[in-house]
C-alpha cells in the first residue's frame, strides 16, 4: 500500500480482514509469520460495530486513504441504510461511520474509488432482510432491489450524485474502476433484467465534471426446459446468466465476467471501454449445463462466481458459491464447492489449467485474495 499524500505513505500488506456477512463479526487474520498457517489475532464483535457505526452485516473490504473501509448492508435490525465504516489500519479499532452526508442513498453493496479524482463510487444490493433469506421474488419483480450508483466526494465524505441504471436492471453489484488513476471510468454488473432475464455490464465515466453510465454489454438468458430448472426459474423457461461478479485486469485491458447461472466465464477486451469485444470464454458448471473440468470426472454444479486476476494478468481464479440461501434457490441439489484456475493469453483467450482444481466438498468457497495483491485489491497502478 502506498498513499502519496499521506505522511505515512507505506503500510504493510499483512493482515486479512474477513467480515462475516451473517454474524456481523470482523476477523483480523495475520498471514505474516507463516502464510500457510494464518492466525486470528483479533475479532471485532458486532456490538462494537453497531455501537460505533450503527451498522451490521459487513461485506466488502478495501484498504484506502487513512484506514480500512468496510461495506455494511444495513443496521442490526436488518434494515437500511447500508453504508461504509472505517477501521484504524494499525489497531483495527472501529473508528466510525464513513458518510457525513448520504443524500438519497439507502441500499448499499460495493464501493471503490478513483483516488486521482477524489471520488468514491458505491452500488446497491439490498438490506439484510432483503438478501439473508435468498432473493425475494415479489421484491425482485417489483423492482425493489438496488439499481443505482452513488458518487461521493471521497475526502469530504459527502454524496454528490446518483446514477440510476433503471428499475428494470436489478441488483447493481461489483464496481471495477480503472486501475490507471488518470482514467475516470469503470464497470459495474447488473445481475438480472426484469424484461428478459439478461445480465448487463455498465460503464460509468466522467464527462464534463459529472458522472454518467451506459450499458456496454448485454448477456442474454438461455432457453431451457421447465424440468431442467429450479422452482424459482420454472415459470420463465430460461436460465439467466446471473452475472454475480466481474473483475478488471490491473492493466485495465481485460474484463472478466462470471455468469453464475449459465456456467460461463467470459473475457472481454475493454481496451476501448465503450466497445468491449468478447475475447475468450470457458464453460464450467451452470444450472442446466453442469459442464465439467479436465481434472475431474462428471458434471459440476455451481458456476463461476467470485473471480480474481493476478497482477500480471496471466492467471484467473474463481470459485462457485454465492451465498448459502441464494445457492439453495438456484442450485437446490446443493453445491459441491470448488476453485479453478485459468491461464489467460496476454493477447486474449482463456483455457483451464488442467492440473488446478481445488475441491472444498461441503464448505462453500467464496472470495479469493492473492498474496502480494491482485486485480480487485490493488486500488491503482500507474502504467
Amino acid at each position: 500500500m502506498l498513499c502519496p499524500n499521506a505522511a505515512h505513505p507505506h503500510v504493510e500488506r499483512r493482515y486479512l480482514v474477513v467480515p462475516g456477512l451473517r454474524s456481523s463479526r470482523v476477523y483480523i487474520i495475520d498471514t505474516k509469520p507463516d502464510p500457510t498457517r494464518p492466525t486470528i489475532v483479533k475479532v471485532i464483535e458486532p456490538e462494537e460495530i453497531a455501537e460505533r457505526t450503527g451498522y451490521a452485516k459487513g461485506h466488502t473490504v478495501h484498504c484506502g486513504p487513512d484506514g480500512i473501509y468496510l461495506s455494511a448492508l444495513g443496521n442490526p435490525a436488518g434494515d437500511g441504510p447500508g453504508g461504509i465504516f472505517v477501521l484504524d489500519h494499525e489497531s483495527f479499532d472501529v473508528l466510525g461511520r464513513w458518510e457525513i452526508d448520504r443524500g438519497d442513498q439507502y441500499l448499499h453493496y460495493d464501493f471503490w474509488w478513483h483516488l486521482g479524482y477524489d471520488t468514491m463510487i458505491s452500488s446497491e444490493w439490498g438490506t439484510p432482510k432483503m438478501v439473508e433469506n435468498g432473493v425475494q421474488g415479489d421484491l425482485l419483480l417489483g423492482g425493489r432491489y438496488g439499481h443505482q450508483l452513488h458518487i461521493w466526494d471521497l475526502y469530504r465524505r459527502r454524496h454528490r450524485q446518483t446514477i440510476d441504471l433503471g428499475t428494470e436492471h436489478q441488483i447493481a453489484l461489483e464496481l471495477r474502476p480503472a486501475h490507471d488513476p488518470t482514467k475516470a471510468y469503470g464497470f459495474v454488473n447488473s445481475v438480472v433484467s426484469l424484461k428478459d432475464l439478461s445480465s448487463s455490464i455498465w460503464l460509468w465515466h466522467r464527462h464534463n465534471g459529472e458522472w454518467d453510465a451506459h450499458k456496454v454489454i448485454t448477456i442474454p438468458a438461455e432457453p431451457a426446459r421447465e424440468e431442467q430448472l429450479p422452482p424459482i426459474l420454472k415459470p420463465f423457461k430460461a436460465v439467466p446468466p446471473l452475472v454475480s461478479d466481474i473483475d478488471l485486469s490491473v492493466d485495465d485491458r481485460f474484463l472478466y465476467v462470471a455468469c453464475w447461472g449459465t456456467g460461463e466465464l467470459q473475457q472481454y477486451d475493454v481496451s476501448d471501454p465503450f466497445a468491449p469485444k468478447l475475447a475468450g470464454s470457458v464453460r464450467i458448471g451452470g444450472i442446466v449445463r453442469g459442464a465439467g473440468h479436465p481434472a475431474v470426472r462428471g458434471e459440476l454444479n455451481g458456476g463461476p462466481q467470485m473471480v480474481e486476476v493476478s497482477r500480471d494478468g496471466r492467471r484467473v481464479y474463481f470459485t462457485n458459491s454465492l451465498y448459502l440461501p441464494w445457492d439453495a434457490q438456484f442450485y437446490p441439489a446443493g453445491i459441491r464447492s470448488w476453485m479453478v484456475k485459468l491461464d489467460a493469453n496476454p493477447e486474449g483467450g482463456l483455457e483451464f489449467d488442467p492440473r488446478f482444481f481445488v475441491d472444498f466438498g461441503d464448505l462453500r468457497a467464496h472470495q479469493i485474495r492473492l498474496q502480494g495483491g491482485d486485480a480487485s485489491s490493488d486500488s491503482y497502478c500507474f502504467p
Binding site: L2, N5, A7, H8, P9, P65, E90, Y155
Partner: protein, 227 residues
C-alpha cells in the same frame, strides 16, 4: 554547540527532511504521474517547500518569544523535553497525521498540506535546538570579520548591537528549506524519470521509525547542550 555545527546541522536536516516521502517528494511524483506532466513535480515542490518553511517560521517565532521570557538554558531544556515527548509518541503511534487532502489540490492546498505535515511531525521542532544554537553563528561571523579586520565594515545587520536572531534564523530556515527542496527535487526526478514506481515496491523503507528516532536523537543532543 557552536554556530558552524548548528548551520551544518540545519543544512543536513533539510536534506534529511527532503528524503522523507511524507514531506513531499512522493506527493509531487504522484501529481506528476496524475497530470502526466513532469513539470507538475516542480510546480508542486515550490508550495510544498514554502509550507515547510512556514512551519519552521512558526517554531522560530515561538522560540523568539521564549527567549524573551526565559533563560536560554531553560528554553533549551524545554525544547529537548518536547522533542523527546514527540519522538516517543511517534515511535509508537507514527500513523497519526492530518487528513482532509485529496489528489486534486491547488498550490494553496499543497502549501497547507506541507505546513501541517511539517508541523504535525515535528519537523520544525527538530530544528529548534539548532536555531537556538545559532546565537553562536552570528558571533562566529563577527569573529571571522574581526580576524580579517573587517569588523568596522560589517553590514549593519551583522553588527553585534543590531543582530536580530530572527534575521539569522530566517537565513537558516531558508538554507534548510533550499537543502530540502534540492533533495526532494532530486529524489522525485530519479523516481519519476529514471527508476519508475517499481523501485518503490522493492526499495521501500519505513521512514516513520527513522523519523521518530531522529526526533529522539536531536532531543538527546538538545539535553546535552541544555545542561
Amino acid at each position: 554547540m557552536d554556530g558552524l555545527s548548528a548551520w551544518l546541522a540545519l543544512l543536513v536536516m533539510g536534506a534529511y527532511h527532503g528524503l522523507n516521502p511524507g514531506m513531499g517528494w512522493l506527493f509531487a511524483v504522484a501529481l506528476g504521474l496524475q497530470q502526466q506532466d513532469g513539470r507538475a513535480i516542480g510546480r508542486s515542490l515550490i508550495p510544498i517547500s514554502l509550507g515547510h518553511m512556514a512551519a519552521l517560521a512558526v517554531i522560530a517565532a515561538l522560540l523568539g518569544v521564549g527567549q524573551a521570557l526565559w533563560h536560554l538554558g531553560s528554553l533549551r531544556s524545554l525544547t529537548a523535553l518536547a522533542l523527546v515527548a514527540v519522538g516517543s509518541y511517534k515511535l509508537f503511534r507514527y500513523s497519526r497525521h492530518p487528513r482532509w487532502f485529496g489528489m486534486r489540490v491547488n498550490a494553496g492546498q499543497l502549501f497547507a498540506w506541507s505546513f501541517l505535515m511539517a508541523g504535525a511531525h515535528g519537523a520544525g521542532l527538530m530544528a529548534a535546538p539548532f536555531l537556538l544554537g545559532l546565537g553562536g553563528a552570528t558571533a562566529f561571523a563577527i569573529a571571522c570579520a574581526a580576524q580579517l579586520g573587517l569588523d568596522h565594515s560589517l553590514p549593519a545587520a551583522l553588527r553585534p548591537e543590531a543582530v536580530a536572531p530572527l534575521a539569522v534564523w530566517a537565513a537558516a530556515i531558508g538554507l534548510h528549506t533550499l537543502a530540502m527542496l534540492g533533495v526532494m527535487a532530486l529524489v522525485a526526478h530519479l523516481v519519476y524519470r529514471k527508476f519508475g514506481l517499481m523501485v518503490l515496491r522493492w526499495g521501500w523503507i519505513n521512514f516513520d521509525l527513522i523519523w521518530a528516532a531522529a526526533l529522539l536523537v536531536v532531543g538527546g543532543i538538545a539535553f546535552v547542550h541544555a545542561v
